[in-house]
């Protein structure tokens, strides 16, 4: 719960939250309640993203973990404005994909992206995800129904990424820079 102040502060950033389909959270107490629910949920794993100096910069989590069909959904949220660039999100996502495929033995990881979240879309493509569906007018944000895309990555596609020069670079970088903790 030591992360509560940071997590609550990020949840109040309207510029950031427009990329996520979540109801507004108005009090720290409400956020604490949600975090406690998340901790005890059997289909969810939450992490804090830390940068090199161990400062918390965002959240990354798995939801809808399905152990029978062996798939889960990934969400990446870099809360600190100065750290909202491709590098931190990509490295955190890469570490989570390693965790999903090599430790949790998942068959598929997927993620939903709002149509205007261009950086998130670039990130999904960078990690080798394939666009599988266009959810038309699916999410109500800022007074309008917005489209969203669903991207999916299969285990064998992730192994192909790992074998590629790009994957090797991510693997090397992830062992030297940036850390994640629960």
């Amino acid at each position: 719960m030591a992360d509560l102040p940071n997590v609550f502060e990020w949840s109040q950033d309207k510029e950031l939250m427009k990329y996520y389909d979540e109801l507004p959270i108005n009090t720290s107490f409400e956020m604490e309640h949600i975090l406690r629910q998340n901790i005890s949920a059997v289909d969810r794993i939450d992490y804090i993203i830390e940068a090199k100096k161990r400062e918390s910069i965002g959240r990354i989590f798995f939801s809808r973990i399905n152990l029978e069909d062996k798939h889960l959904e990934i969400h990446t949220m870099v809360g600190e404005k100065k750290k909202r660039n491709m590098f931190f999100g990509a490295e955190a996502a890469f570490l989570m994909l390693l965790h999903a495929f090599h430790q949790l033995n998942m068959h598929k990881v997927y993620g939903r992206v709002m149509e205007y979240a261009k950086e998130a879309e670039i990130l999904q493509k960078e990690m080798g995800f394939t666009k599988e569906a266009v959810f038309k007018k699916r999410y109500f944000q800022k007074g309008k129904y917005r489209n969203a895309f669903l991207y999916g990555l299969l285990d064998r596609e992730f192994e192909d990424l790992l074998k590629s020069p790009k994957g090797q670079r991510y693997l090397a970088a992830s062992q030297g820079r940036g850390k994640m903790r629960a």
């Binding site: 069909d69 062996k70 068959h107 266009v134 038309k136 999410y139 999916g152």
Partner: protein, 172 residues
């Protein structure tokens, strides 16, 4: 109870549990998906009010009270005013006149009573009958989730179809 031209939708009663359970033992029904694996009949029977508390599950029956299948709305999201829909017909009642009527009645409830604006359906690739039924009620394809579910020792694609209120013909 909601009525169409050929079918009626009604709540699941305790008396329906045994035939549904027998059907589930043969075909694995989505209705029992949220109940933990290897649950006994006694447990289902004793916990009926817990397991079937959701008001969005319906029995599809004909006008003579013969059970034809089940249908449901779920994943209701009030912010986005959307939900998902599923249905399953019993072997021997794979008839588009019946399934289309059932889906149409349920869609009508969702749009006209619950005041939602979008319905999604996630249908495994092998369920061609269900895909065609949804198409006949004007559902449109939004994509295919590759290898998304595991059934009978293999991964299957899942089709996503959706219907908007404006695409729904109340007079069909």
């Amino acid at each position: 109870m909601f009525s169409g031209e050929k079918v009626r939708l009604r709540r699941i009663e305790k008396a329906d549990l045994w035939p549904l359970w027998e059907w589930h033992e043969r075909d694995e029904l989505y209705l029992f998906k949220h109940i933990k694996s290897f649950v006994s009949w006694d447990e289902i029977h004793d916990n009926y009010h817990e397991y079937f508390a959701w008001k969005g599950d319906f029995i599809i029956q004909d006008k003579g009270s013969i059970i034809l299948g089940i249908c449901s709305y779920h994943n209701l999201n009030w912010k986005n005013r959307s939900c998902s829909m599923s249905f399953r017909m019993i072997d021997g009642y794979y008839d588009f006149l019946l399934s289309v009527d059932a889906v149409h009645v349920l869609a009508s409830v969702i749009f006209n009573e619950l005041n939602l604006v979008k319905i999604d359906a996630f249908v495994p690739q092998v369920a061609n009958f269900n895909i065609q039924t949804f198409e006949k009620v004007n559902f449109l394809h939004e994509g295919i989730l590759r290898e998304h579910i595991f059934r009978n020792n293999r991964y299957l694609d899942v089709h996503i179809l959706s219907l908007f209120r404006e695409g729904f013909n109340n007079n069909d």
